[in-house]
Subunit: 207 residues, 2 copies
């Protein structure tokens, strides 16, 4: 990555239109991906905009040109995390078209894999805890995201023919959120190993 990217201001907005060669990542992208990573590693309040700008090979002025405030940058990282997490429903449909029951079991399987691969848990749930008491603009987005994910899961449980789809969806949601936080609170010697088994037992009991 190089600091020698050239930028020109767009005439119609405050956005910076960055002219970069194909092997370079525009500053805005560098800032968002670096911030996402650093927020995940050190906590949202554990890292400042100076350090983010520095790690993204840019400067604070550029960061503030793209994002009016740290809060705005936080919201953008969470919006992307939400978008990425939301893609699961399409992936499940593609993998098991027209087979909601298989999709439900695949949901468990892929969530279990994520638990292993992403020890820092859910960026959005973590942010809700980290930003508490602040009246932070991210809270509304987090609530909306969590409600949407839960509703999509309830629709899938219903399509899979579960007896009490709402209760099953809530059970699976609580198990997932619990596993994500437990992974962080208990380290590796935790109860996440039982996450998939607990989910599958719940699905079986509501069959």
């Amino acid at each position: 990555m190089s600091r020698t990217t050239s930028a020109k201001k767009s005439e119609t907005s405050n956005e910076i239109s960055v002219v970069v060669s194909e092997d370079r990542i525009p500053p805005r992208e560098r800032i968002v991906s670096t911030a996402s990573e650093l927020f995940r590693e050190r906590g949202i309040r554990g890292i400042g905009v100076d350090a983010i700008a520095d790690a993204a090979l840019t400067n604070k002025m550029t960061l503030y040109r793209h994002f009016g405030s740290k809060d705005e940058l936080v919201c953008e990282t969470l919006r992307r995390a939400s978008e990425k997490a939301g893609a699961i429903w399409h992936d499940l449909e593609v993998a098991y078209p027209g087979n909601p029951r298989a999709q439900l079991y695949a949901w468990v399987e892929t969530r279990a894999q994520c638990l292993n691969g992403e020890p820092a848990g859910c960026d959005l749930a973590n942010a809700a805890i980290e930003l508490k008491g602040e009246g932070h603009p991210a809270h509304e987005m987090i609530e909306r995201h969590k409600a949407e994910q839960r509703d999509r899961l309830a629709a899938l449980c219903s399509a899979a023919g579960a007896r009490e789809a709402e209760l099953l969806a809530d059970t699976l949601t609580l198990l997932l959120e619990g596993a994500r936080v437990t992974r962080q609170a208990m380290g590796t010697a935790n109860c996440c190993g039982h996450f998939a088994k607990a989910c599958n037992a719940a699905i079986a009991s509501f069959a």
Copy 2:
């Protein structure tokens, strides 16, 4: 509460022996309880020692005389939260002596009540998320606490005659941790309303 408490230094330790009349709370206690409350409301990183000392009607120097650092104060608030949470096992035994099955259902019931009464969730789990990436001394205590609580629950599940006590204990633990974080991430319109029902369904399916 008054600022006019008199204090004298103990000759055998760095502890301050505070001389207070019975209706006054010693500075150390005021600092711990105020810090617990403020950490819960604003997050551990959302409040500084100056503000804590001020809210506890004392000063930073006194705070540092009792606690060498903010980290140490954080650990003390979590040690107390752990002690308070750990008292549940004794309470359950007193309420339903020699009846582990009733104790298990009472565990669900009291946890559900706590979810309603304590919207900020578990101080220890929250701290694990808030202090990530810091190598904070609290992490070891949090891990130990969570492992102990989980093991106590597994022993209760086993005593209650559950088929797969370890799996049931992990299921209930994940449901509880999930409900605590979901309460914070989804506000009131969340899936915690189903916490007790989900737990009881799990217990029934492992009976």
